[in-house]
Amino acid sequence: MSDSAFRPTPEQEWEDLVRQLHDQAQGQPRPFFYNRVSARLAGRPTTPGRAVPVWMRRPAYAALLGVIMLVLSGDVGALRPAPAATPATAPAAASPLRSHPQ
């Protein structure tokens, strides 16, 4: 006698599998979960927002950011040592008393 009458259809098998999926999803956190949440909270700052992002606290990043801003602002020349002023190289602004042709 064929046992095909007792065989579940693919649809029934799928439904059965999905039911198993639901049944296995009944876990719980370990006991004293609230205590662990409280302990984690106690170790956090009271205000959620940080004034300074974490990466800004690293001096190397902060220094790099400073250099990039300086370069982008065009003030990088201020970092160079000023060349010794000679009459030939001195800019016009350095000798304000020079007479201008009329």
């Binding site: 799928w14 979960f33 609230y34």
Partner: protein, 191 residues
């Protein structure tokens, strides 16, 4: 129920520790199970569940009640769990890369699984196969599928969590089921 939730939110916003304990006790299982559905390890699920409650405590003052408290908790949990998973995957890839370059002597990459699909036939193994394929679904489909079939949420509730419409949820679930059945069907016993 909605009134009770509103009362709880009001007490939380007033800084009541008793209300916070009530919140944790009432929702810890749901939050943990949702995280576990997406992460599949008790340690990571616990970590995400704790982070969710910490975030609730710290940001409850800004909760305006646009969504229900339950929806908000599911939203926080799913987004944190997905974020945690992405971080773990990145870490794993980096560890694999460094192991290939020989920066350390540990074998960090997973050994290949030589189990033939025919070996994954019976009972629990079919479930494991299903879980493995759920984990490979796109994020939105995975969240919709697990909320529906593991947490037994309604289509409306899932739509609220995902901030989308019910037809969009139907579409996500349809595509998820189609993908999963395509992979699982050949391994079902009587097919």
């Amino acid at each position: 129920m909605a009134d009770a939730e509103a009362d709880l939110v009001a007490q939380l916003q007033a800084g009541s520790e008793v209300a916070f304990r009530t919140l944790v006790t009432r929702y810890q299982d749901r939050v943990y199970r949702t995280a576990f559905s997406l992460l599949r390890t008790p340690e990571e699920a616990e970590d995400v569940a704790q982070e969710v409650f910490v975030e609730v405590y710290q940001t409850i003052a800004r909760f305006r009640g646009d969504a229900s408290l339950t929806t908000w908790l599911y939203r926080l949990t799913t987004s944190r769990a997905l974020k945690s998973r992405r971080k773990a995957q990145t870490k794993k890839r980096f560890a694999y890369f460094t192991s290939l370059l020989g920066f350390d002597n540990d074998v960090l990459h997973e050994p290949p699984d030589h189990a033939h699909p025919q070996a994954l036939l019976e009972g629990q193994q079919q479930l494991q196969l299903l879980l493995a394929h759920i984990a490979r679904l796109p994020d939105q489909q995975q969240v919709a599928f697990t909320l529906r079939h593991e947490q037994a949420l309604s289509y409306d509730e899932i739509a609220a969590v995902l901030q989308t419409t019910v037809p969009a949820v139907e579409s996500l679930l349809f595509r998820a089921r189609q993908t999963l059945r395509k992979h699982i069907q050949p391994h079902l016993r009587y097919v």
